[in-house]
């Protein structure tokens, strides 16, 4: 089984769109929407939800005011500025580490598990699909990604899926690392801009750090010819194979708006180019 992750560093370059095309064009895929704090893939596929659950992956410190003597030891040991001068605990700043619980001389503090997000398992027209939404401000995005990836692995095993496609989040931090580890292929989606190139360099660093072979797709390629050339030259120097150049095409948006993958629109030049890029990927990885 192969796990293919779609990443970009910079947001808004077209990860989700390309992941949706992959899921439409390739057989035997289980799809994971791992952009848990801005999940969008379900808007394209509108899966029928079969199972949902609440993920409790983090804790928050809670004080028993009766027992508290106000000594302030908790505030002294907290490294996250989560306890103020009046010893009030800020649940959004609390890391859930329990240092205060250990430090309290009168056992007035304890950790309480809190819900940090919701996951779902569902089925789109052609494939099973797993995703999650992190509650605002939660810090366990990486753990939530790991939870849904385990579910996807199980489904793929049960159904004999040959591939798992993972739509990752922007950036290079916690959820991106959780989406990247243990994958066999990374598809990096960028756009011809200085920011796109800068962030491509960073995400390529991450996937190479984890030893995952990477491929490049240049989306909205005609928005700047000079930057497109610069990015292609960069990819050449880095030995990063270019799978395709996708033209800017307003029909892509029109497709997404009605919950359709752009590759299902025969009139869309970008949809065709995306399908060709995915076909080129399949040639490479089998």
């Amino acid at each position: 089984m192969k796990r293919i992750v779609f990443l970009s560093g910079k947001g808004g370059t077209g990860k989700t769109t390309l992941a949706s095309v992959f899921a439409r064009c390739v057989e035997d895929v289980t799809v994971v929407d791992a952009d848990v704090d801005a999940a969008n893939l379900h808007l394209v596929f509108r899966p029928e939800i079969e199972e949902t659950g609440i993920y409790r992956g983090s804790s928050v410190a809670v004080r028993d005011d009766e027992a508290c003597t106000g000594c302030g030891r908790c505030r002294e040991v907290c490294r996250f500025d989560a306890i103020d001068a009046d010893l009030e605990i800020d649940p959004l700043a609390c890391e859930g580490c329990g240092a205060c619980v250990t430090a309290c001389p009168v056992d007035a503090l304890r950790l309480v598990e809190r819900p940090s997000g919701e996951w779902y398992v569902g089925r789109a027209a052609r494939h099973p699909m797993v995703g999650a939404e992190l509650y605002p401000g939660e810090e366990v995005s990486g753990k939530l990604v790991s939870v849904i990836r385990e579910k996807a692995d199980q489904i793929a095993k049960d159904e004999g899926s040959k591939r798992i496609a993972i739509d990752g989040s922007p950036g290079i931090g916690c959820p991106v690392i959780a989406s990247t580890t243990g994958t066999q292929v990374a598809v990096l989606v960028t756009e011809p801009s200085r920011s796109g190139l800068h962030d491509l360099e960073r995400i390529l660093g991450v996937v190479r750090h984890f030893g995952v072979p990477a491929y490049l797709i240049l989306n909205k390629a005609d928005l700047s010819e000079s930057l497109a050339e610069e990015i292609e030259a960069y990819a050449g120097r880095e030995g990063l194979p270019l799978l395709g150049r996708i033209p800017y095409d307003e029909r892509v948006l029109a497709s997404l708006r009605v919950g359709r993958s752009p590759s299902d629109d025969p009139e869309s030049p970008a949809g065709r180019a995306m399908a060709e890029a995915i076909a080129a990927l399949m040639e490479e990885i089998g």
Binding site: L92, A99, G142, P170, V176, R257
Partner: protein, 280 residues
């Protein structure tokens, strides 16, 4: 005043709004621009600041003194993040899972734990014209962005205007950025993805009880859903930026819009006034 530029979805134009707002405000008022997207920082590409020496940001991770350690396992039991394990006759520390909270040191009965610095990234400061500029960079392979953002904010100089360019999403790094600001500009685009993620961002803003206005970028696709949503939620739309190939090209080359197309100066000056009114 401190104002953050945020969005749920990535790539909606946060950087566009932040760098242009800063450029316009700085004509009249002492201004600081802080790029809090330490995973994918881009503001410096537009502002071309002269930057000082990078300052490392670290977390404190435990090191076990094997002479003193009795393998009792108290540290491993106490760690909420699974970052310490007792395996046979030694204690393993997984630095990448450690949150640097120090609890293991507090529970160790044999005083066998000391801490060392584990670098997470760097912050860099400098000037871009009259603008006090700062940004951070998370090291490749590191997961924790929030401590870098917190340090970046803590060391930002006082200015009349402090503009914080937030990372995308709604997770902890966004909360760290928004903590203590006077107001938020939410940048979105009129697409189903843009609307879905705007709702999530509004959820964060409401949780933190912050005032917010909206900037709609790449307008003109005929999608009215974002406008309707903003009306229903009582969110003022402070600026609309049309989809225009010229704007896209200027952005692609990392040029500042108000410099390249000066007709945009008035629009961003108005955005600054409206943002000030919103907060007042």
């Amino acid at each position: 005043m401190k104002i953050a530029v945020a969005s749920g979805k990535g790539g909606t134009g946060k950087t566009l709004v932040a760098v242009n707002l800063a450029s316009v405000v700085a004509f009249e008022r002492p201004t600081a621009l802080v790029d809090c997207d330490v995973e994918a920082p881009n503001d410096h590409l537009f502002m071309k600041p002269t930057l000082g020496v990078p300052k490392p940001v670290c977390k404190r991770v435990p090191v076990i003194d094997e002479e003193r350690c009795t393998l009792c396992g108290a540290c491993s039991e106490a760690c909420e993040f699974g970052a310490i394990a007792v395996i046979r006759n030694r204690v393993m520390v997984f630095d990448e899972l450690c949150h640097g909270c120090g609890r293991c040191g507090l529970v160790c009965p044999s005083d066998a734990i000391r801490e060392i610095d584990h670098p997470l990234g760097v912050i860099e400061r400098g000037m871009a014209g009259d603008i006090a500029f700062g940004h951070g960079r998370l090291h490749i392979g590191e997961a924790m962005a929030s401590p870098i953002i917190a340090e970046l904010k803590r060391t930002t100089p006082e200015r009349d205007w402090v503009i914080l360019d937030a990372p995308p999403g709604t997770a902890c790094s966004v909360i760290t950025t928004l903590h203590g600001v006077d107001g938020v500009l939410l940048v979105t685009e009129p697409t189903p993805f843009g609307l879905h993620d705007l709702r999530a961002a509004v959820g964060v803003v409401r949780t933190l009880e912050l005032r917010a206005g909206v900037v709609i970028n790449r307008e003109g696709t005929g999608d009215e859903d974002v406008e309707r949503y903003c009306q229903d939620e009582g969110l003022p739309i402070l600026l609309r930026i049309p989809f225009d190939r010229r704007i896209a090209e200027v952005g692609a080359e990392a040029r500042v819009l108000v410099d390249a197309l000066p007709e945009w100066r008035d629009h961003f000056a108005k955005l600054a006034r409206d943002a000030e009114d919103l907060i007042a």
